[in-house]
């Protein structure tokens, strides 16, 4: 499975995926953004489009090449396709002597995810761990995940808010893909160096008879991905985030964030690893029919921590702290890794541009100042 192949266009790959029964999901331009949606043709890829990213800002821009994957993370990750925002768990109908409960079998998905960035590939692995790797499996997620075919695309064009390199998740795709492409642009349009990750990936390539890659192209592809690591727009401070989070629970910086945070929940909903859901029961007017739904939830929702007597995390400060310390700190204890993959979506899609890399740097500086002050106090008393 180490063969490196090459495709001059993605049409044959798309057709092979369709023949294999996959619905192909990939990037496409809609509403002035590059969104992920079902592709009814390979021509829907965003050829010649790039993006300009900033805290709280996202704009399309034209490129002077025909690249389909020269854009960084978009409005949503693959989460809405695998971990859906609304899932019906069961329904029940009143009978003469009680209720008849009808389980909702998870809808099997057969999705080909075309254009999964290394950061998002890592995010899928993290959600796999959370939703299928413990004692309790999310059946809806598991069904859709089992049927998914993943075509990763290595990153050669990181965005202004990207920091996968400092999180160790990119720009080179890690494990978990069926196929991984690296896009090379040229005068004849883009061509793709292909790494094969699984037997299923090899089968698809056999079907279309992909050629062995030109060694020069392979070298250029590797070099462009390596170079992308140095062009990240952001960097997460290099230190043990787990320790910093654990030591920062009383930091003054949380009050500063709370002054700016709207508690709107956008960061959690665009985050490719945030997984929280709530469960709600509905009944119809007759009272004879009930349904149980699983819906996306967020630690920024006041109801998220509602117990009898009130909301445990009543302030914006306590909610932001919960989100960041879980994402970067206690996630390690719970799931054995960081919960952040460096995609930068929480920075771009925060309506007021709160940047977690800036917040972490501020927490680091505050901790360093506190340590210095403590040392100075020790010396003066010693």
């Amino acid at each position: 499975m180490n063969a490196t192949l090459e495709l001059t266009g993605l049409g044959p790959l798309y057709d092979a995926l369709r023949r294999a029964g996959y619905t192909v999901i990939g990037p496409t331009v809609r509403d002035e953004a590059i969104v992920l949606a079902e592709l009814d043709s390979i021509d829907r890829l965003p050829y010649g489009w790039g993006v300009r990213l900033s805290p709280g800002g996202y704009r399309l821009r034209r490129r002077d090449d025909g690249a389909a994957f020269a854009h960084a993370a978009g409005p949503q990750s693959w989460k809405p396709f695998l971990h859906r925002s609304r899932v019906k768990l069961w329904e029940a109908t009143r009978t003469e002597d009680g209720f008849e409960v009808k389980d909702q079998p998870p809808a099997p998905g057969r999705l080909a995810l075309l254009g999964v960035r290394p950061c998002d590939l890592r995010a899928i692995a993290i959600q796999d761990r959370v939703l299928t790797g413990g004692r309790h499996t999310d059946p809806s997620y598991a069904a859709r995940r089992d049927g998914a075919f993943i075509i990763a695309v290595n990153c050669t064009e990181p965005g202004e808010t990207c920091f996968c390199a400092s999180m160790g998740t990119g720009p080179q795709a890690g494990p978990g893909y069926d196929l991984a492409l690296t896009e090379l642009t040229g005068e004849d349009g883009p061509r793709y160096v292909v790494d094969v990750g699984t037997d299923a990936g090899a089968l698809v390539l056999d079907d279309i008879g992909a050629a062995t890659a030109d060694p020069g192209d392979v070298e250029r592809a590797r070099a462009e991905v390596t170079a992308a690591a140095d062009r990240m727009g952001r960097e997460m401070p290099a230190l043990s985030l787990r320790d910093l989070m654990a030591d920062s629970l009383d930091a003054a910086r949380w009050d500063d964030v709370a002054e700016r945070c709207l508690s709107c929940g956008n960061c959690t909903m665009v985050c490719p690893t945030c997984f929280c859901t709530r469960v709600t029961d509905t009944t119809d007017l007759s009272g004879d029919h009930a349904e149980r739904w699983q819906l996306w939830d967020s630690c920024f929702d006041p109801d998220f921590s509602h117990l009898h007597g009130g909301d445990v995390r009543a302030s914006a400060k306590s909610r932001y702290r919960q989100w960041l310390t879980h994402k970067l700190g206690t996630w390690h204890d719970q799931f054995g890794s960081s919960g952040c993959v460096g995609c930068g979506r929480c920075i771009v899609w925060c309506p007021v541009g709160i940047d977690l890399t800036v917040e972490v740097a501020a927490l680091r500086d505050e901790a360093a100042e506190a340590a210095e002050a403590a040392e100075a106090a020790d010396q003066s008393t010693g």
Binding site: L295, A314, P351
Partner: protein, 278 residues
């Protein structure tokens, strides 16, 4: 409150105070569900639909409108007294409505300009939500309220469960239904991040910014919404900002007027009471 015993249909009353009737009409707008609803609930008092008003007390009262006159003050106490459960519906009843713009001005000055004989006008200095005067069991926000949410509240009451009416922001609804963020991607000013969900994010779904008709989301734990943090990002002039916050939920979004003291306003109200009784 536990489930209503089967056998007797619970009675429903609908009341109007200072309002446009739009929220009451939402009940009539439940066309497909209206027959099923009247099968479960006896609509005993609903002047918008029928002049035949049944006697109280009522199991559930829906109250639309804000309290703006001395007569309203008496009538809302009566409504509370004849209602087992009192549910306020809409921005007027929950926040004072657009007519609460008067709270930032001098209503007697307005009356002197508008009416030939302002002394005939019996009105209070402020337009206030129902909850400022009597205990309210549930507040349903919106201008107008959302049909699905109204049915959810009534259905939940019939079943004896809590209604699923989340308190989070409109952004939750945008992200759940896959709307693109009009603020981040288009630079369209949007109050969604600080606005109470419930509409299903209609405006952003059509490429418009949210203008806050459901009032602020109480995501700040009872304190004022963080409007101040959002405003610099809306890229609006001071006048535009003032206008966008001066609509149906003006008292909920805007800071209280600083020039007038609460004591003065109470004195105004007492004088208005005296005027009305003359």
């Amino acid at each position: 409150m536990g489930p209503v015993a089967r056998g007797r249909r619970p009675t429903l009353a609908v009341w109007k105070f200072a309002s446009c009737d739009g929220c009451q009409l939402t009940l009539l707008d439940c066309e497909d569900e209206l027959l099923a609803l009247t099968g479960r609930i006896e609509i005993a008092h609903f002047l918008e639909a029928s002049s035949a008003a049944g006697e109280g007390p009522y199991d559930v009262s829906l109250v639309e409108g804000s309290i703006t006159t001395p007569a309203d003050l008496d009538r809302i106490r009566h409504v509370r007294a004849v209602s087992r459960k009192l549910i306020t519906i809409g921005a007027c009843a929950t926040a004072g409505g657009v007519q609460a713009l008067r709270n930032f001005g001098d209503v007697r000055e307005f009356a002197s300009v508008v009416y030939a004989r302002p002394e005939y006008i019996a009105t209070l200095a402020d337009s206030t939500p129902v909850a400022a005067h009597v205990p309210v069991d549930f507040e349903l926000h919106g201008c107008p309220i959302d049909r699905r949410q109204l049915l959810e509240v009534l259905t939940a009451h019939l079943t004896g469960r809590n209604p699923d009416v989340p308190r989070h922001s409109v952004c939750f609804e945008c992200k759940s239904r896959g709307n693109l963020c009009v603020m981040v991607a288009h630079g369209t000013p949007c109050l969604g991040p600080i606005t109470h969900a419930g509409c299903g994010a209609i405006c952003p779904a059509y490429g418009r910014g949210c203008y806050g008709c459901f009032g602020p989301s109480p995501a700040w734990g009872g304190t004022r919404p963080n409007t101040r943090a959002l405003l610099p990002w809306l890229d609006m002039t001071e006048d535009e900002t003032h206008r966008v916050l001066s609509t149906f939920n003006v008292t909920a979004f805007r800071e209280a007027p600083s020039g007038r003291e609460a004591d003065d306003r109470e004195a105004d109200d007492r004088e208005a009471d005296d005027d009305a009784s003359q």
